[in-house]
Symmetry: C2
Subunit: 357 residues, 2 copies
Amino acid sequence: MKPPIQNDRFLRACRREPVDATPVWFMRQAGRYMAEYRAVRASHSLLEICKTPELAAEVTLQPVDRFGVDAAILFADILLVLEPLGVGLEFVGGEGPTLRRPISSADDVDRLRDFDVTTELGFVAESVRRIVGRLDGRVPLIGFAGGPFTVASYLIEGGHSRNFVATKKLMYAEPQAWHRLLARLASITTEYLRLQVVAGADAVQLFDSWIGVLSPQDYRRFVLPHARTILEPVAGLGVPVIHFGTQTAALLPDMRSAGGSVIGVDWRIDLADAWQRLGADVAVQGNLDPAALLAPWPVLADAARGILAEVAGRRGHVFNLGHGILPETPPDAVADLVKLVHDESRTGNQTGSAFRL
Amino acid sequence: MKPPIQNDRFLRACRREPVDATPVWFMRQAGRYMAEYRAVRASHSLLEICKTPELAAEVTLQPVDRFGVDAAILFADILLVLEPLGVGLEFVGGEGPTLRRPISSADDVDRLRDFDVTTELGFVAESVRRIVGRLDGRVPLIGFAGGPFTVASYLIEGGHSRNFVATKKLMYAEPQAWHRLLARLASITTEYLRLQVVAGADAVQLFDSWIGVLSPQDYRRFVLPHARTILEPVAGLGVPVIHFGTQTAALLPDMRSAGGSVIGVDWRIDLADAWQRLGADVAVQGNLDPAALLAPWPVLADAARGILAEVAGRRGHVFNLGHGILPETPPDAVADLVKLVHDESRTGNQTGSAFRL
């Protein structure tokens, strides 16, 4: 039996219901910028933490305990789904992923190992159950998976990429293999998200972080149908679904069309402008530049207030960064930002007036 | 005496005058993807080529001779303006720039060496004169400089950056030093572009390539006034001015406001959508994904036709990529693309009908 959620601001905002204050959480809110996290990492690799439910639960809870964010997000990595495919996932040195056997051809696509998501990724379900138990209803838990383009790009590039040349070459030169690959990833991802929801996740986010390197035409042709294949059935699970990408200013209507009850927006567009392009019938999440957390407090506070002011009086805003927290981020800035978002949006809701700008 | 320009399609399109066919050139059209260029590089460093007018002229002419592009672009590097500042510019290994002494504080900004642009960058003027002589009026010559944000980012990061953390930290923490720095760069850049135009450049492009990493708010506050400081006087020199950046889908109206008679657009937005946001009273340049040149010909041809079709019947389109040619590009694809752009836009203008899609 899951305990009822006490602080349900995040879920209410996702459903565009009234809230007492704007909910706030951060992508990569559990990570290297926190001493508590580094203490765990000192004796465990990233993959060990992901695969040890007790450790995953511990680091997942760290930012909830320390900052009072309105949602927890499962500690995991979007590339965990790649390991059972047999491509040799490693996190060498820091946190950057490397594949020992990236794929580069139609044959490679067809040779990817079949696997049962429930069995091979069962440790993630166990992490979700532990986290839900330890949260004890304080805040909701967000599960997540990588989006089909983003996961495919790592599978093909073998790691992070600057120009995504190998990915685009395969996409253009072998469109049938590309679509087989993305259909396969979409099927795995749908099962993987279902596994997390069944285990107790209260919402999920699809991180198609790198779709913004595609032209809108290419996104529509090569990615959108597969994103929809994931987002439609997952929407049927009855939890909010956040669809996130970066560099998406011109892709927002297409992302909306692919699915998601909340669209995650980066800082490269004014949030009100983004919402305008998305339409009023969807919630938005974002969109502070992660680098703003490295700024002196008055600059950070102004930037956060600017975002709150842009969407003041509208239902359905989840405050977040436009991408993950940077490792250089001072934790105190995160704490102060959470407090500001709560305090100033609460004031705003009470008075219905403008924020202090 | 400069000979009159025989093929003036590019200049006419920049001025939104009728053309017989859409003009086409490519950012980094002289570069590593060409054997002719690699042959020169085999015995000369990148900086040597830039500083030896005869060599700069030779590589500048290579793509004009081979592909029949409608404009030459000066072979140079946007960071040449940094060397006289005393920061230790090097191109280590391949073509990636590194500064031995990047700046990180207000004091560093104030310690940057004063220099006379005409003297210290006189070799660029000499390159321009040589190129104009060798072109003998075949096509116009485009001069260029880096935009203030982009050049500042290299000055601060010391090389290419993924998240521009040091740049943004200085911008946020030391806004006065930031504005002093950008004003200084703007002054140098204005002089530098004037030098090129006086020497014979028929148009200039301001490459503020990385502005798309900024939020629109930050662009307006920290960059736009300085971009305008460059673009306004340069516009007064009577040549077309192209203002270029990447990841700018939401920045286009602000770029337009900063200046430029042509706005360079990357592939992350449909070109017709971009032009809509810019307004009809400006020309546009772009916007094929450079990776499309690595695709099989039918895919590349379709993508190019798609761009031509989007802006068919409108005056003021210069065909280009959305960023520089990738080193992996097959030269034959470039040749075929130039021919397609000319052939199919000529058809389009004659019939006034749609392109084959």
